[in-house]
Symmetry: C2
Subunit: 104 residues, 2 copies
Amino acid sequence: MIESDIFRALADPTRYAIFEKLANGSMNASALREGLTISQPAMSQHLAVLRSAGLVREERQGRFVNYEVDPEGLAQIARWLAKYRAYWPSRVDALKAVLKDMDQ
Amino acid sequence: MIESDIFRALADPTRYAIFEKLANGSMNASALREGLTISQPAMSQHLAVLRSAGLVREERQGRFVNYEVDPEGLAQIARWLAKYRAYWPSRVDALKAVLKDMDQ
DNA sequence: ATGACACATAAGTTTATGCTTATGTGTTGG
DNA sequence: CCAACACATAAGCATAAACTTATGTGTCAT
C-alpha cells in the first residue's frame, strides 16, 4: 500500500461521489447506485477500491452488503495533513476555526 | 475545477514525492529532480498539475523558478476533512492527540 | 548579441484505469 | 431444493494520464 493510494481512491469523481453519499449515511451497494449512471460491476469495483484504501468498510447483512465510512481512512488523511501544520498560516482564519472544531 | 482534482494531484506517487520534498523546503525544478528518475519535461508537467490543484505555487527567480507548498491547497483538504468530523471516533486516541497539536 | 542555461509546451507513444458484458458466489424465500 | 436476488470477479475494450523526444520561451553571463 503506497501512501498516495488513499488519494488515488478519492481522485475519481464517481468514487468521490460514492464516498460523499456514504458520509450521509450507510447504504448497501444497490442503493448507492441510485442517481448514478453506473453498472452494478462498476459500483462493486469502486467500492473495492475505497475499501482497500481504508475509506469505507463493509458489513454483510443477509444478501445485502452494507457500506459505511471507515473512520480510519479519514484519520489517515488527518495524520497526513497534520505533518504540514508548519504551512498553515494564521491568516487562514476559516481554517483555524475548522481545526478548533476538529479537536472538539 | 472538480472537487476531486486536489486528490487526483496527490494520487500519482511521483507527484506525491515531489510535494513531500517541497514540504521540507522550497526548491527549484532542477533541484527537485535530484534523486528521482524523471525527465525535465515530466517534472515540469507534474509541477503544473500540483500548481493548478493549488498545492504548490511558483516564484520566478531569474532563470530559476522556485516552487513552494501553497497553504491554500492544504487548507482546502482540511476544510474537506472537517466536513466528516462526525466520523472521528473518540477511540482514535492517536488522532485526537494529532488534532490537538494541529490547533496549537 | 549570443551561447548556455532553466524551464515550459507540443506531439506522439505507452501504460494505467475505468468501463462494459459475461459469469461466479453466497443468501433468501417459496 | 431451486429460482431470484445482491454482489463479486474475470476478461476485454476504450479512454485518460504519464511518459518520451523535440522544440519554444525567457534570462543571464560574457
